[in-house]
């Protein structure tokens, strides 16, 4: 009897896992609200974020104070007006009027052309202008200053000041510098994490909350079988999410997929190992589904969003936080996503990221399993 059991050990293990898996899928199907949420919420999130999370600063609001009132100064103002970077929202007679405009946000950048601008240039001295940027809105303000510098340089070149050294920029991977090409694949990574991590945590906590965990424990299932059986359905859900969201990424937002689809899917697996492991870990920390949700949202998702390089580049962080980002699985997956989508690279380049995800995933799963068993015991 014992011998037979050992011989069919692997088969019994698979069968036990399979049973839990079926039970979990049935439970998912029984909740009529969950299925639409699973597949519509990510599409809405992606569409909304894809449009809103743009860092392409366009049409910066500009206030102009032309004190010189000469042909040259008017030409300079025309250069600003006709550029796509700026939108002139106010023409004022005195610099004193800048403060209320910048305070209320009706202007982000203010340009002053002082008296003598034309006279200086005719006399062989460079013309001077003053630019004021609203630092309270750091992004529009600083980028507005950079745009203004470009407009001024173009003006100078057009008027005959040819610089000896010119710069010919070549932009790789995203030649039109469209921010959605960078942000939208990142949102994909975020959605996969939110869905798989939160659902796993809540599914496990639900059993404890309803008291059905006790019932599962008196069955001959081992904790390992229980965990694997509970995780696989959510891994499948995660893959299904990607298939739902990917058409939106590719055909609606027209983000190019330069690498192979297969590579992308294969490299998603180690990432899901991490998100599922984190979900299980959260379930060992929470007593109620509500706590599980709050923990995932605030303690796990938000910091990952901030420290992964999703919107804020890691290279700009101080050393301590740069080190901390190595503990964030999304960090590695973002490199994978952006690498496969924009750069068209594969395993040859992305293996360190994949390796890091596998190490993190195995570690967090092992740790969560330990805590899980202790709690059951």
């Amino acid at each position: 009897m014992g011998g037979r059991n050992q011989r069919s050990g692997a088969g019994a293990f698979v069968r036990a896992v399979f049973n839990i898996l079926i039970k979990e899928l049935l439970q998912l199907k029984r909740d009529p609200k969950i299925v639409p949420i699973l597949f519509t919420a990510p599409v809405i999130q992606l569409t909304l974020l894809g449009y809103a999370a743009t860092t392409d600063i366009k049409r910066v609001e500009l206030a102009v104070c032309d004190l010189d009132r000469t042909t040259a100064s008017r030409q300079l103002v025309d250069r600003f007006t006709s550029s796509t970077y700026f939108r002139v929202t106010a023409n004022v007679d005195s610099q004193d009027q800048f403060n209320p405009l910048l305070q209320s946000g009706r202007a982000r950048v203010a340009l002053t052309i002082p008296v003598g601008f034309e006279a200086d240039r005719s006399g062989g001295r460079p013309g001077r202008v003053q630019l004021v940027a609203d630092g309270a809105d750091a992004m529009s303000g600083t980028i507005g200053l950079a745009y203004a510098a470009t407009v001024l340089q173009d003006t100078a070149v057009a008027a005959g000041a040819i610089p000896l050294v010119n710069l010919r920029p070549t932009v790789l991977y995203n030649p039109d510098l469209v921010s959605k090409n960078y942000m939208v694949p990142g949102i994909l990574g975020l959605i996969v994490m939110i869905m798989t991590m939160m659902l796993t945590a809540m599914a496990v906590v639900r059993e404890s909350e309803l008291g059905t965990m006790e019932q599962l424990l008196v069955t001959p299932l081992t904790p390992g079988q229980l965990i694997i059986g509970k995780l696989i359905p959510y891994a499948l859900v995660g893959l299904a999410e990607i298939f739902t969201v990917l058409p939106v990424v590719l055909f609606w937002f027209k983000v190019p997929l330069r690498g192979s689809f297969l590579t992308l899917m294969l490299l998603t697996l180690p990432y899901m190992l991490c998100t599922l492991g984190l979900g299980l870990f959260i379930s060992t920390l929470a007593q109620t589904q509500q706590q599980a949700m709050m923990l995932s949202a605030f303690v796990f998702i938000l910091p990952q969003m901030l420290l992964s390089g999703f919107a804020f580049p890691i290279q700009n962080m101080p050393a301590f936080f740069r080190v901390l980002t190595y503990l964030v699985p999304l960090r590695y997956y973002l490199v994978i996503l952006r690498g496969v989508f924009l750069k068209g690279v594969g395993f040859a380049v992305l293996w360190p990221q994949a390796l890091a995800l596998i190490v993190f995933g195995v570690a967090i799963l092992g740790f969560a399993r330990l805590r899980f068993r202790r709690r059951l015991g």
């Binding site: 743009t54 050294v165 101080p318």
Partner: protein, 367 residues
Amino acid sequence: MLRRTLAIAVKELLQLRRDPRTTLALFGMPIVMLLIYGYALSFDVQHIRLAVVDQDGTRAAREVAQAFLESGYFDLVSRGRDPRVLDPLFDSGRAQAALVIPERYGDDMAARRPTTLQFVLDGSDSQTATTILGYARQIIASISPVIRTSTRNAAVVPVSLVWYNPDLSSARFLVPGLLAFILMVTSVIATALAVVREKERGTMESLRATPLVALELLIGKTLPYLLLASGAATGALVIARFLFDVHVRGSLLWLAFVTLLFLAVSLGWGILVSTVAETQQVAFQLGLLTSMLPTFILSGFIFPISSMPPALQVITHIVPARYFLVALRAIILKGAGPEVWWNQAMGLLIYGTIVMAIATARTVRSL
């Protein structure tokens, strides 16, 4: 009336004490976010990984490469003659930008012939790439003499100033947004949860049997969260002041006034959610969906509204934090008075009146 309202408020506070994890998540999270934002996040691009391909090898070529490295923005990751090294460097992300100096560069400079340098950059992150290109243009402009075709000087030199936040500290930029976020999320979610909890446990029935009027119940239930949210906001302001040197430039009284208007909107919103949701789970999800996400994405907190597509810009008008944020930035950072932000306050006032009216009507009906 006052006594009964207070009794409900005290009961609510006792209940809050019994669930320390939720309270901690709601009030600890904003502080953690403030610390991460203040210390970690920055828009200032530094440590740009630069590869130099010098096909010229003259002194002039070395000087231009040196100018990039001495600017303080760039870290050298590779230097050589062969441009073929660039592909793997960019693919793996080890280089973000490359300066390619062509063979004739030194000769051209010596002969004072206009010449061109190639600057390759990874455009994936468009914002960082734009900033890097800006730095590169500045450096080139600073080392390049201008060839003049006439006695007239065509150059235009800007003197640039940054107002309100001269060192472009991200903490200063983000603190007003965080305040809005804290107030919105805590008041909506906490209020909605508190009301729905009574429904879920059936204790709403027992409350109904007491001589409490609907209004007393509502005020009593929201009062503790009003206090807690104000406490969290004050805490955030104090931390911002002492750790990140963010001073409130405008009047504290006006700040409190605008904040109260905003709290009226968000508490009303919380009650509205509670009249729709039957379970705490649904209340939490609805609250999160209608408060946290829009405040984060559509209020102008991080992503500027003026850059969004027009349809989305219209939608941002239903996000209360949008109005609050403009007023907050004006008061805290710019020291502006009501003449600047009165229309935002009006927006909040109208919004608050409508939301409160609907919420009260729905609650009274359900009781």
